[in-house]
């Protein structure tokens, strides 16, 4: 079991390495990165959704992707997943180029997003069975039983997905995202529309999952408390660019603020007071 502080330290020792020498990669054995994003650009006709961003996430880290609506978070995650093709730049996931080598990694990663649903007429158990088979999960019945226990699904596991509450659906979506025990978990607004109790419960589960499996988690969120609690590192995006990239504590110190929410408002309203230059 690792503390959040230890994870933050590990995460940033890698960042320092990457600044010190040529880019470390999984291929040359110098570093085991979960995600490497290099000068990534996405243009939709005349709109630049993502504008040359670069970052590297070490394995076992939890990173928050922050930014207002239209900042480019979802497009960035979609390019990491291979759902959207970059206009230029490069993405490597678990050491493999995306999307060219996606077949090598899709079984080792998973995701949850408000942009997708699970079939409504199928029961929770049926949905998990199908996704378990798609991910070639061994001992699938045991895995579903374990997830049902861990995520408290037993009361409604044989109910149709469409008849669940928002909180129950989120837990089911999380169970689907964890069905293959992914090394890399991409989450887009994982606690959106949840009541505070359920949201807190989901966060605790994600933290436990990371600690027990050394999994890497990248999450896009508008919930600053969530990011402060969960993340070793925060990447703030604005208009498709990385505005800041550091530990939550370092970012708050740089902006002379006590919460990430205040930092978020400063960035959104352009009140950086030199913090942006310092970050560079």
């Amino acid at each position: 079991m690792h503390s959040t502080a230890q994870w933050r330290k590990n995460a940033f020792s890698m960042t320092e390495n990457s600044k010190a020498s040529s880019r470390p990669t999984v291929a040359d054995g110098t570093l085991s990165a979960a995600i490497e994003v290099d000068r990534l650009v996405k243009l939709y006709k005349q709109t630049c959704a993502v504008d040359g961003i670069s970052f590297t996430l070490p394995r076992g880290s939890i990173t928050g992707l922050l930014g207002g609506n239209g900042a480019g978070k979802t497009t960035t995650i979609a390019m990491i997943m291979g759902l959207v093709l970059p206009t230029s730049g490069r993405v490597r996931v678990l050491g493999h180029r995306m999307p060219e080598q996606s077949a090598e990694v899709l079984g080792r990663m998973n995701f949850e997003s408000p942009y997708v649903d699970m079939p409504m007429r199928l029961t929770v158990r049926q949905n998990l069975t199908i996704f378990g088979k798609l991910y070639a999960v061994e001992n699938l019945a045991d895995r579903i039983a374990r997830l049902a226990d861990e995520l408290d699904l037993n009361d409604f596991i044989d109910r149709a997905n469409g008849k669940l509450s928002a909180g129950q659906k989120t837990r089911v979506a999380l169970a689907k995202a964890l069905i293959n025990q992914p090394e890399l978990l991409l989450l887009d607004e994982p606690t959106a529309s949840l009541d505070p109790d359920t949201a807190d419960w989901v966060r605790a589960h994600l933290e436990r999952y990371r600690n027990e499996n050394n999994a890497t988690i990248l999450l896009a969120s508008h919930n600053m408390l969530e990011v402060e609690r969960l993340c070793d590192r925060v990447i703030i995006m604005k208009r498709g660019r990385v505005e800041d990239d550091d530990t939550p504590d370092a970012i708050m110190a740089r902006y002379n603020r006590t919460t990430l929410e205040e930092v978020f408002l400063d960035v959104a309203r352009g009140r950086t007071n030199g913090a942006k230059e310092e970050a560079r």
């Binding site: 939709y44 979802t74 497009t75 979609a78 997943m81 291979g82 759902l83 959207v84 093709l85 999307p99 060219e100 996606s102 077949a103 899709l106 079984g107 990663m109 998973n110 995701f111 997003s113 942009y115 997708v116 649903d117 699970m118 079939p119 409504m120 007429r121 199928l122 049926q126 069975t129 199908i130 996704f131 088979k133 798609l134 991910y135 070639a136 149709a160 689907k176």
Partner: protein, 272 residues
Amino acid sequence: MSELSLHRGISVQRIGAMILRYWYLLMSSWPRLLELLYWPALQIITWGFLQLYIAQNANFFARAGGTLIGAVILWDILFRGQLGFSISFLEEMWARNLGNLMMSPLKPIEFLLSLMVMSLIRLAIGVIPMTLLAIAFFHFNVYSLGLPLIAFFCNLIFTSWSVGIFVSGLVLRNGLGAESIVWTLMFAIMPLACIYYPVSVLPAWLQTIAWSLPPTYVFEGMRALLIEQTFRADLMLDALAINAALLMASFGAFLALLRSARKHGSLLAGGE
């Protein structure tokens, strides 16, 4: 779902998972099951009685008994085969589940193979009762066509899959705004495939187009069998060759449209 990894092995387990997904859906929804039975039954009863009426009043149709009912059944194999394929695909769009599948290890070829199996299952649910109604009401037994029926069926189902694959690619690329193509594209083929009349009825320039469509060979073959009691194997082989080219072209088009969808971010949008 990586379109760039076709050289790797196809997983029967993943195809089975997708078939199971659609089976669960069918079994959970009686309106979906009823719809599969409803339209084919309505078709055969309407056209069957029309055939009876015409046969009583026209010598040619009295001699060529069954050509109309046979054509209705074979047309339904073509049309329902494509619908069975495309509706299973649309179910993923309606359920907003496509992103989950695209992000899973499921490959496009496996996805398409599962849709093909589902089109056969849905077709069987709709068309087998239809053929039994034809026997009961109109004494037309399509199974008495024997082995040629297999050749007719294979060629029609291959064409239906080609159209289904192409249309699914269009919906993938353009969203549910393109959904109406699923229901209407096959009807564009209908007049040229010469379902109810021989190719010779068409003007010469349209005949050239008609002979580029595999169903035309099947319906000509059916008429040859029912009217002249001759099985035209040459027509079936020609249709098979065109079908092979169509299937390859439609699969290529699907991959190109999938790539275009990724480029334009359509897979995230999903809606209209």
